[in-house]
């Protein structure tokens, strides 16, 4: 019996969300009196994988098959299922990402496991039940779910678990092969197109976000948002109407029908705070609202607010951030 953690890597590095997943898995293992093994997917370096020891992982399995560098649903599912059999894993922990959820749902059927996605806390295991808290109703509530099967799969929401970090500890990196065949790669993407990040921060991974709404008046004013984001090392985001009229790309749209973010800091500029928008951002740790209308509903969900004109306030904030460093 052990805990298997699925660690996503890109460009040689372990993704931040996967460090959280690794730490979550190690803590579950400790709760159950066992150890946590990781299986790494994507492009990784041995040195970075060994560093997962800092999150409490004892062993990392890595299949150097070159076609595994990009996400292939079937191949990843088989790889992880094979690792899970080898390690006799009762619990598999992965990220609630577009990779983790895709693989997790297939694995749950293949391994006859019960699955909880969007999980925000460590499990409660007292009283003979295994209960996890997950986000539901698009950020408006939580549900405590009992995982009934012998095997369990947990997909952990980004930025809801703090990655523990014990400097200097290393994990053993072991080579591993799932004996994948060409057929397992039949659903490989024909092409992967990455966004032009140009030094920017990726929204789903960001721990600070500066977001603009219709109050920004037009795409030509987004330099104000970008300047503050750059100074803070934040990602940029927007409300739905802003992406609907193509002022900003769709992948920046947050809310109930966009992406859900839970950064440490969310700064909303010229956004009214409609319930559908709040649903996507209200699990942020600190919310700042800048709006010229003191009655804007967003102020009710905010920790800090400035009643004022974004065109006046944003440059002042950017200047103040630059003064800090």
């Amino acid at each position: 019996m052990s805990v298997l953690v699925v660690v996503e890597c890109a460009d040689g590095e372990v993704k931040k969300s996967s460090l959280e997943v690794a730490s979550y898995g190690a803590q579950v293992a400790a709760q159950l009196g066992t150890t946590a093994t990781a299986i790494a997917v994507g492009e990784a370096t041995e040195a970075n994988l060994a560093k997962l020891g800092e999150q409490g992982i004892t062993k990392v399995l890595y299949d150097a098959e070159p076609r595994l560098k990009e996400f292939v649903n079937n191949a990843y599912t088989k790889l992880i299922a094979t690792a899970s059999e080898q390690e006799q894993a009762k619990i598999i922990v992965l990220a609630n990402s577009n990779i983790g959820a895709a693989v997790g749902s297939r694995l749950s059927v293949r391994l006859k496991a019960s699955l909880a996605t969007n999980v925000v806390e460590l499990p409660k295991t007292d009283g003979g039940q295994f209960v996890v808290r997950r986000g539901a109703f698009s950020g408006k509530a939580f549900s405590d779910v009992v995982l009934g099967s012998d095997r369990k799969i947990i997909a952990v929401k980004k930025n809801s678990i703090e990655a523990k970090h014990e400097a200097g500890k290393t994990a053993e990196v072991a080579s591993f092969t799932a004996q994948l065949s060409d057929a397992d790669f039949a659903d490989a993407p024909t092409q992967v197109v990455m966004q032009d990040q140009a030094g920017g921060v990726l929204l789903p991974e960001a721990d600070k976000v500066v977001s603009g709404g219709r109050g920004m008046k037009g795409p030509e004013n987004w330099n104000l948002i970008e300047d503050l984001a750059k100074a803070l090392g934040a990602a940029t985001a927007c409300s739905k109407p802003v992406s609907d009229v193509d002022w900003r790309p769709h992948h920046e749209h947050v809310g109930q029908t966009g992406i859900t973010v839970s950064p440490n800091l969310y700064i909303a500029c010229g956004i009214s705070g409609a319930i559908q928008h709040l649903a996507g951002v209200n699990s942020s740790k600190v919310i700042v609202v800048i709006n010229k209308d003191p009655e804007a509903p967003f102020f009710k969900a905010a920790d800090y607010g400035i009643v004022g004109d974004v065109f006046d306030v944003l440059p002042k904030l950017t200047a103040a951030v630059k003064e800090l460093s």
């Binding site: 509530a141 659903d187 769709h250 992948h251 920790d303 951030v321």
Partner: protein
Amino acid sequence: MKFLVCISNVPDTTTKITFTPDNKEFNKTGVQFVINPWDEYALTRAIELKEAAGNGTVTVLNVGEADTEPNIRKALAIGADDAIRVNAAPQDAYFVAEQIAAIAKEGAYDVILMGKESIDYNGFQVHGMVGELLGIPTVAPAMKLDLSGNTATLEREIEGGKEIVTVNTPFVASCQQPMCEPRIPNMRGIMTARTKPLKVVPPVGEPARTTVAEFALPPKKQGVKLIPAESAGDLIKLLRNEAKVI
């Protein structure tokens, strides 16, 4: 081409979420239910692809009790040809996936479309489970879907970019913006929807693997601290020294 579009019946996006006093159930009192917004992309795209091909059928499927029928009729009014309701409360995602897989198999559907995720339970999982149950690919979440003969080309969103994926039918895809402009029913659609076939079938398969023990609401905010616009820069100091987030 036979399209199967799975729709979930969810509380309207403006709903204030509350639970029964024991926190065991969602409080439906006064709540308006709608077709899950993401499922509207699946439905509209299926209708568009059928129209472009000049032949085919679009069947909508819901796993739910009789109170979901107004939204099934709405989907028929938008342009689906017929509907199936599996007569059972959707106990959990695996239970729902089993029902969808059984219907898809029996009806030999070529393209099974869903929404990205339900806005009530936010599982983002039924599509993967159905693909695995049927042994066919799932592309989730898809931002674009085109068909040429039996081959589909899709754009799948990934963190920080997108993948172009080509699959042959049958396959499962879960849909999101900007795939299409979701349609709304017109008068003629509403009239014809009344007489379109809606078949009610009993559930199959194994029981659910998960149960909800309890629901909870997020903690209330303390209240906003306002900073005068003239001294906006002070906010940054507060974020550093008080909130400690920068």
